[in-house]
């Protein structure tokens, strides 16, 4: 990951690097077509979790980027085998994100990589129609730390 990438580009590239994830290879941003084997990444902005000043006036800020990943898959009504495959894919993706984060293999966003965390959680079916298309939603969160050094005294 190059330093010049934006946070969105980093997350997009990271998600797309999931092995065995052709569905994620060409992620759309803020858009998900109802065509199987496509996906969309929906950023929902930055949340400031905590702001901690030290006695010298420097400030440590803990931030969180949140994203929703929508993956579109085939699932005919009553197709239990297909639904199982999809659900297992969603679970496996979440476990892969966790592993990458714990092992320090995920991209970094702040000033203290050791404190960073990427999670993919609450993966579940979002909608399914009679035409055999199902949409699964996964919440992705990136928690990172920024340091602001006080200028002047």
């Amino acid at each position: 990951m190059s330093e010049e990438q934006t946070a969105l580009e980093k997350v997009k590239a990271f998600v797309a690097s999931y092995p065995g994830a052709d569905v994620l290879a060409d992620l759309a941003i803020d858009y998900a077509d109802r065509i199987p084997d496509t996906a969309g990444l929906f950023p929902s902005g930055l949340v400031e979790v905590r702001r901690v000043p030290d006695v010298l006036g420097n400030v440590t800020v803990v931030n969180q980027y949140n994203f929703a990943l929508y993956t579109v898959m085939s699932k005919a009504p009553g197709d239990d085998a297909g639904a199982t495959l999809n659900a297992e894919w969603v679970q496996a993706f979440q476990e892969w994100v966790q592993e990458q984060s714990v092992l320090g293999l995920a991209p970094t966003f702040g000033d203290d990589p050791r404190q960073e965390r990427i999670t993919a959680q609450n993966g579940a079916i979002y909608s399914a129609d009679a035409e055999g298309v199902a949409v699964y939603a996964i919440q992705i969160s990136v928690t990172f730390t920024k340091r602001f050094e006080k200028k002047g005294w």
Partner: protein
């Protein structure tokens, strides 16, 4: 001697960072003042006045006090290679195990809110103790070395200034 005035805006409280404690990480004759407390979120200078209060047989209460023993703890103090003060203390405490050095540290306390903005009141203590209380931390967390500082030795008052370009802090005793 007239009272020093505060240089901060009236009717406003004073920011915590206006009280600064620095450790001399240079030499006695050519000090390098390095601020203490990077990433420490709460640290206060405790003042022990050795106060004694008694009531005499006439019912009058009197209190005696001595010049205060000051003590300030920095906890937590996560280690950071860019924190010159912490690196200096680590070397004397952990690497050298040198209690004599740790009890003869050169400390500068700068009261940025008192005196003038460019030359605030400062006090230097050349034989201070700076003693780490532990080295470690929880798994997955930061390696910390909290420490307690007791300013000691001769107290020299004066003013401090900081070079706007280099950031170098200079202490000027009142006698100069």
């Amino acid at each position: 001697m007239a009272d020093l005035t505060f240089n901060t805006t009236a009717e406003q409280t004073i920011a915590r960072e206006m009280l600064l404690m620095c450790l001399n990480t240079g030499t006695s004759s050519s000090p390098t003042w390095s601020p203490l407390g990077k990433r420490t979120t709460d640290s206060s200078m405790e003042l022990d006045w050795s106060e004694e209060t008694s009531t005499d047989i006439l019912g009058e209460t009197r209190t005696t006090a001595r010049k205060p023993i000051k003590k300030q703890t920095f906890d937590p103090l996560p280690l950071d290679s860019a924190d010159a003060a912490a690196v200096s203390v680590w070397n004397k405490a952990i690497h050298d195990n040198d209690p004599q050095a740790l009890c003869n540290m050169d400390i500068l306390i700068v009261h940025l809110y008192a005196g003038t903005v460019s030359t605030p009141f400062a006090e230097r203590y050349t034989s201070s103790s700076v003693l780490p209380t532990n080295l470690g931390g929880e798994g997955g967390g930061d390696l910390g070395m909290p420490m307690a500082v007791t300013p000691g030795g001769e107290r020299v008052t004066g003013t401090a200034s900081k070079n706007a370009t280099t950031g170098v802090i200079t202490f000027t005793p009142d006698s100069e």
